[in-house]
Amino acid sequence: MDAATKGAEVAHEEHHDEAHDQNYLQYEPGIWNWLTTKDHKKIGIMYAVSLALVFLVAGVLAIMVRTELVSQGETIMDADTYNQVFTMHGILMVFLFLVPSIPAILGNFVLPLQIGAKDVAFPRLNLASWYVYMIGAIMTCAALYFGGVDTGWTFYTPYSSSTGGGVIWMTSAIFVSGFASIFTGLNFIVTIHKMRAPGMTWNRLPLFVWGLYATSIVQVLATPVIGITMLLLILERTMGIGIFDPALGGDPVLFQHFFWFYSHPAVYIMILPAFGVLSELIATFSRQRIFGYRAIALSSVAIAMLGFLVWGHHMFVSGQSAISSIIFSLITYLIGIPSGIKVFNWVATMYRGSIWLQTPMLYALSFLFLFTIGGFTGIMVGVLAVDVHLHDTYYVVGHFHYVMMGGSVMALLGGMHYWWPKITGRMYNETLGKIAVFLIFVGFNATFFSQLVLGAKGMPRRYYDYVDRFEALHQISTYGSYVLALGLFIVLFYGVYSMFFGPKAPANPWAAATLEWTNVAALPDPHNFVRTPLVTRGPYDFHLADEVFGSGDGVGDGQAASLDVPEPAPAAPEPSEEAPQNA
């Protein structure tokens, strides 16, 4: 049905349900109640707002970097400013955006809903995590006030021991915000172990939950190392204890070991939840069981474990011993295999499915395209001899943007569109959504494929200026980034519009089969489920999911289907909410 009739119908329902229904957004309104809420859904939204702000700032910084590089010499800023701008872009994107992103926003909102729980295991710890994160963000602002940081996001010593007034504040901010990450990880591990609904066995966990589980393990085990490293750096700068600075008898390469011991696993903190989101999107919009469910679930855990053993592949030319480099290269390949398996499985899931090309699915397909390039370029930089040439060039910059932006951010955008109706209770504009995804896809490739070529040709990264022969490719990259930015601003625009004026969403607009869609109201109850659900099938068993086709189908699909009216879902709260109108 079209939007108008749907709107009318929903309005009608509203009168109907007001008496006994209450949703989590109406429950305990007001700013103080929000700031002290222990509801995982509201904390997820608070994280979403904070992270959107960080993403906006870091994105604007990226556009400034690209604009500076559009031509040789000084374009809009001097070298010192440029160094601070790309440093802040990296730090904000990595530590304050990508690391928390999917777990803190979508994980917080969706995880308890997907496993049939009332909340996470430790709701107060969950709220504390947001406050700790905000303290980290404020300390970042302090770092800017006290002279800024120009070290690159990697803080390599001895450069970082000698420069910039803001380094101590910045490293402290990373130390502090690490705890937010640990709190979230701890919470998720316990929640997944202890709070699953009856019948929700490990083999019936949605793959997003598996992804978050693997992520949480890495968060809890790896994050303390970056905390310790930052603390050592602070001790060196304030008290002159020689740990990394050769002038004080330290070893600068030791810092690189410490740094990558966290920061490589951190890459998996950023990508594993994205894998989880992707499994949800592909399964729902293909209406097909995930091909190789067990392989995908276990490969995430395998990646989480192996991820700790490959940090040295960032250091092939640092002067570490050749034997170390060789071993790290070998293990790096072993970790590439599970990622490859996932891509093959996702594509195979589409086989004989019923593929519905809505915006979230378009993000999922973009992910498959971009992440595969990211994976293959990752294999390339893992080849010892070739990495010697490519290390610290734009090839590496291109590679990790294909993985981090083409992977994590695409999955986050896809996930935000997918769960948007559940979070806000409203639909976004599908046409604008498709236009935006197209612009983002084209802009992204123009921006970063040209960087792959630049890097292979020898353009070093973190360069304020460059020689003649790189200018044309830099220009392509810059213009591409404008297209990419335009796409993202369109998303921002229709997202905000939808929050206030979007048509009301039905409970299950995508005809998905996981609990947050089948057993939860359009806008969730403050306590998620009116009655604890009983799980009787796998998360993607559409052929067994009669309740999906009974209550949700038709509304989001545009047309009511003339299906047999099925049995109510086990403990489904509103078995016939949509059915009368559709029939």
Binding site: A79, D80, N83, Y159, S162, T163, P252, V253, R287, Q288, R289, G292, A295, S318, G319, A322, I326, S329, Y333, G336, G340, F344, V347, M350, Y351, R352, S354, I355, L365, L368, T372, F376, T377, I379, M380, V383, L384, A385, V386, V388, H389, D392, V453, A456, K457, G458, P460, R461, R462, Y463, Y464, D465, V467, A511, H543, F549, G554, D557, Q559, A561
Partner: protein, 322 residues
């Protein structure tokens, strides 16, 4: 191997470059084939199985063990092949031939200096063609990295230990040296050139001590040192500010503003101190980033630099009168 290189790679001018390029090409082609396969399968499924009615309930597809095992085993074989190849070439890159000619390389913010066995120093790297050359490198301050794209070699230059890199140039010409470890303000200006010349030319150049300077008039020597010592990285001669203040019209400038609010006259004594002990007085609007290493310049060299500044200053006339 053309001068222009390929779509992906720059020109190749060392013995190891060919091997790296074949490996790069192999990985690129295998990746492209697999990538196209994945994308075509994805697009085909998206079109072939596109949802036609909202009520569609496809039957679940049975998982195929053989398929799953094959896409574990085949990629594993491929990556092990690539690993092995990369490993062998990496070892070759790491071990210099015993007859390699050794040159010392020093890096500091933001310059390179190459010292030859006979004591000759040069900001550019002169090497003979078809001769293995080994660089023993160290840094005076932070970590830098020595990168010659045309040779496909790169190695970090560390402050607390020597690192080394070797290559054998296969043809004459000039090739860029980039610093590829971020080192601050003028990181992107920390460039130099490898000048690959014939053995005869190299021997002549070396015998002349990289161009004799003893008989040179002071202003000319100053100009040479301006390039050789890397002054040009931070100090322009055209009046534009770079990392440091410009040298144009600097000599004799009457009210040269300092960061502490005072002004000085930029006479010989001030300039000498600014070179030898750059941290004592900082010019307004600039950072205290100039390395102290210039204190090792000889008196003759200092005088030459100041003479060179004098030549390029409009204040020089009045200064000499007084």
């Amino acid at each position: 191997m053309g001068d222009q290189g390929t779509f992906w790679l720059p020109e190749a001018a060392s013995t190891i470059a060919g091997e790296v390029d074949s490996l790069f090409g192999f990985v690129t082609w295998v990746s492209t084939i697999l990538f196209v396969g994945v994308v075509l399968a994805m697009l085909y499924f998206a079109i072939r199985y596109r949802r036609k009615s909202p009520g569609e309930r496809p039957q679940p597809v049975k998982e195929s063990k053989i398929l799953e095992i094959s896409w574990i085993v085949v990629p594993t074989i491929l990556v092990l092949l690539v690993f092995n190849w990369g490993f062998k070439t990496f070892i070759k890159m790491g071990v210099a031939p015993p007859d390699a000619y050794e040159i010392r390389a020093e890096a500091w913010k933001w310059n390179w200096r190459f010292t030859y066995p006979n004591g000759t120093t040069s900001p550019d790297l002169y090497v003979p063609v078809d001769q293995p050359v080994k660089l023993r490198m160290s840094s005076q301050d932070v970590i830098h990295s020595f990168f010659v794209p045309a040779f496909r070699v790169k190695k970090d230059v560390l402050p607390n230990r020597y690192s080394q890199v070797w290559f054998e140039a296969t043809r004459t010409g000039n090739f860029d040296i980039f610093c590829t470890e971020y080192c601050g303000t003028a990181h992107s200006d920390m460039m130099s050139t490898v000048k690959v010349v014939s053995r005869q030319e190299f021997n002549d150049w070396l015998a002349s001590g990289g161009g004799a300077t003893d008989d040179m008039p002071l202003p000319e020597l100053g100009e040479l040192l301006y390039e050789q010592q890397g002054c040009q990285t931070c100090h322009s001669m055209d009046g534009s500010p770079k990392v440091g203040p410009t040298w144009k019209d600097l000599y004799g400038k009457p009210d040269h503003p300092m960061a502490d609010g005072s002004t000085v006259t930029a006479d010989e004594d001030y300039l000498r101190e600014a070179i030898v002990e750059p941290g004592v007085q900082i010019v307004e609007g600039y950072q205290n980033v100039m390395p102290a290493s210039y204190s090792s310049l000889s008196e003759r060299e200092l005088a030459a630099l100041i003479e060179f500044m004098k030549l390029n200053s409009k204040y020089a006339e009045e200064g000499s009168d007084g």
